[in-house]
């Protein structure tokens, strides 16, 4: 390992990057674009679900209950009806997603302590179902095997309490931004090194380099180092914008955040190098990158809860660096956990790094055949 040769690669990469406007733009452009996309457009907070109301009691107390429900803004009234049957028809036709039914004997039920209202939910959209559950407390009765939601009781006080930990306002940006750091790093870092070696092979530079005393290790480490710095710049941008636009908290140590991000950056760069030693063309490297990127997004727990996935998918997810990163970063940023408490996840990332880097160095041959 000759430091001067390795450093020469680092300097060369940075100089080339400085003149590559497109890639330079990607470093800042991709994080900003994704942050805005995920933060604003892809919003799992459901607001303003179309609702129909059938207040068969029509007393001051029943009207107050309806007003309380509407005040949550989870539902927006678009229709009124006389009977629950009419609401059911509207749901079936897709005109409304939620029906609120106050039975005629509302006052007596209230007096007896029996369920006073019914919330009919279109169960075909799980997001709506989850949101509508906010309207009522978790019911005691079990679900009916009907497409209708079960009868739910709402106490006459109309207090709707859904207790959420760490994200009491249930703002999706808060839970998305930490994971998004990982998604952006996976997308950009793997691609950077993924094409790094193939590109030089395509342009003919590699034939020159392998005819020199440069070793595989010097080349590989020299290629990784500059992008670590670039990855950390990306992390800073995402954190700053996340804080500014979405008030995403950093409850743990800022240093821990960067250490965790650093681990993911190196893991992805090593994976990219591995891809680059296998791919025959830049296009192939791109394809392989997306081959890794898609399962990362879907299985890492960034988009869908890890617990809900089948066992096989979970095993597969354990191999992906993003899975461990999402657990780590949510722990550090949202729950205020220390890196020491989450060492098994950090260890998993470190093992991934060592294996990939070794594989890339061993696979790279200073030969043309």
């Amino acid at each position: 390992m000759n430091w001067r040769r390795m450093w020469a690669i680092v300097v060369k990469e940075l100089r080339q990057l400085r003149r590559d406007r497109m890639s330079l733009g990607m470093i800042i452009g991709i994080p900003l674009l994704q942050l805005v996309l995920f933060g604003y457009a892809i919003n799992t907070d459901v607001r303003g679900i179309a609702a129909g109301i059938a207040d068969e009691a029509n007393t001051s107390a029943s009207r107050a209950l309806v007003m309380d429900m509407l005040a949550t803004e989870v539902v927006a009234p678009v229709a009124t009806a006389d009977t629950p049957q009419q609401l059911m028809a509207m749901i079936r036709r897709g005109e409304i997603s939620v029906g609120i039914v106050i039975p005629p004997d509302f006052e007596r039920r209230r007096h007896d302590g029996r369920p006073v209202a019914q919330v009919l939910v279109d169960g075909s959209d799980t997001a709506v179902q989850a949101a509508a559950a906010q309207l009522a407390r978790v019911p005691v009765d079990s679900a009916t095997p009907d497409m209708r939601a079960p009868l739910r009781s709402t106490p006459p006080t109309g207090a709707i309490s859904v207790v959420g930990f760490y994200n009491p306002e249930r703002r999706s940006a808060v839970s998305i931004v930490p994971g998004l750091i990982g998604v952006i790093l996976t997308m950009t870092m793997v691609l950077f090194t993924g094409i790094a070696i193939v590109r030089e092979r395509e342009r003919g530079n590699m034939e020159l380099l392998i005819a020199t005393p440069l070793t595989s290790t010097e080349l590989m480490i020299g290629k990784v180092l500059p992008y670590i710095a670039i990855g950390l710049v990306q992390v800073s941008v995402i954190l700053a914008v996340g804080l500014w636009l979405f008030q995403v908290p950093v409850r743990g140590g800022l240093l821990d955040v960067f250490v965790v991000a650093g681990l993911l950056i190196v893991a992805n760069l090593a994976l990219g190098l591995m891809i680059s030693t296998r791919a025959r063309s830049q296009f192939q490297a791109m394809q392989m990158t997306f081959f890794v990127f898609l399962p990362s997004i879907l299985l890492s727990g960034f988009m869908f809860p890890f617990a809900g996935m089948p066992k096989v998918a979970q095993w597969l997810a354990e191999v992906l660096p993003l899975t461990h990163f999402v657990r780590l970063i949510r722990g550090v940023m949202l729950r205020g956990a220390g890196l020491r408490e989450m060492w098994p996840e950090a260890l998993a990332l470190s093992i991934f790094i060592v294996l990939m880097m070794a594989a890339a160095i061993l696979r790279f041959r200073k030969r043309l055949d």
């Binding site: 080339q16 590559d20 005819a211 005393p213 030969r367």
Partner: protein, 326 residues
């Protein structure tokens, strides 16, 4: 290289290959090539595209593993000791392989570092090369924006930055204008005078003529080797020039004659290459007589053979025509 080492290298030769062979799938790219390249000379590889020049060079540098055969370069067994060879050779690839998006200076600095030139000496060495190859006002120009001739100059400067004992140049002048080519060759002789051995491949006859020695390759086989004088001398008496007003018709007649290997039209003259014959001395009269009988008005005269003739004989003559000058 000290004097004693130089002595050893010159007696052993810079490159020695025996039975060198490379097969890609079903294609035999290089077929049983024996090669001896003496030290301190400019040694040429002459052959058309696809004749195996690049593959041979790559095997000699240790970039490709031979399918069969033995190679010894600067006393090292290749490919086993290829790593030890790296710092002692310079390799200029056929395609420009420096970094288009780095400047002249940055490319030189990068290669200097990769070749292990100490940091303290890099500045002086780079300045020296910039001065010698005339990059003065182009030192900050991006390599990709320069013309073919300048790119080749930069590639040569980078290939010699660590003062290698042996230089491999793979068709270095293929994308270069004649003026730049001449300068490039002046540089090569300068390097050879300084003690370097240079192996240069080309498909240009005028370049081949300037080499101290050369090997002619055709379809992966070594078909001739020797000094240019030896190679052309072996064809003495077999080349004729015919001046005539009706070159197309005369050419037709010549091609039907026995013993005529090739006829090439150059303006109003025809250059004729004869097969090897016992009565070589009377070839001129025999052709003159044959043309007269066919009713052509033509002036036949003998001319000295050139490398193009050597090439035609070597590639078309078959095994019995193999020219092997000592």
């Amino acid at each position: 290289m000290n004097a004693a080492a130089a002595e050893v290298a010159s007696t052993r030769g810079a490159i020695r290959a025996r039975g060198l062979r490379k097969v890609f799938g079903k294609l035999v790219a290089v077929d049983h090539v024996d090669l001896d390249v003496p030290s301190g000379q400019v040694y040429g590889f002459l052959g058309p595209n696809g004749s195996g020049k690049t593959t041979t060079i790559r095997m000699l540098c240790g970039l490709l593993t031979p399918s069969a055969g033995e190679v010894e370069v600067l006393g090292l067994r290749i490919p086993q000791q290829a790593e030890a060879l790296r710092s002692r050779i310079g390799y200029m690839t056929q395609k420009f392989s420096l970094f288009d998006d780095l400047s002249v200076l940055e490319n030189l600095e990068f290669i200097a570092a990769i070749q292990g030139i100490p940091r303290g000496q890099t500045g002086a060495r780079v300045d020296e090369l910039i001065a010698r190859y005339g990059f003065g006002d182009r030192r900050n120009q991006l390599a990709g924006t320069m013309s073919g001739g300048w790119k080749q100059r930069l590639a040569l400067a980078c290939a010699v930055i660590h003062e290698p004992e042996l230089l491999f140049l793979d068709e270095p002048t293929s994308a270069v204008d004649p003026e730049s080519r001449r300068e490039f060759w002046e540089n090569l002789f300068e390097l050879a005078d300084a003690g370097a051995t240079i192996l240069v491949s080309t498909h240009l006859m005028d370049e081949a003529e300037r080499c101290h020695r050369l090997a002619v390759l055709d379809r992966g086989r070594l078909v001739a080797d020797g000094t240019p004088a030896e190679l052309t001398g072996a064809l003495a008496g077999r080349t004729l020039v015919i001046e005539t007003d009706e070159p197309r018709r005369v050419r037709g007649t010549l091609q039907s004659l026995s013993g005529v290997l090739s006829v090439v039209q150059v303006g109003n003259t025809l250059r004729v290459l004869m097969q090897e014959a016992a009565d070589a001395g009377r070839t001129e009269q025999r052709i003159d007589h044959a043309l007269g009988q066919a009713g052509h008005r033509a002036q036949v005269s003998a001319v000295p053979p050139n490398l193009e003739d050597v090439f035609v004989v070597a590639t078309r003559g078959g095994a019995d025509e193999r020219t092997r000058a000592a």
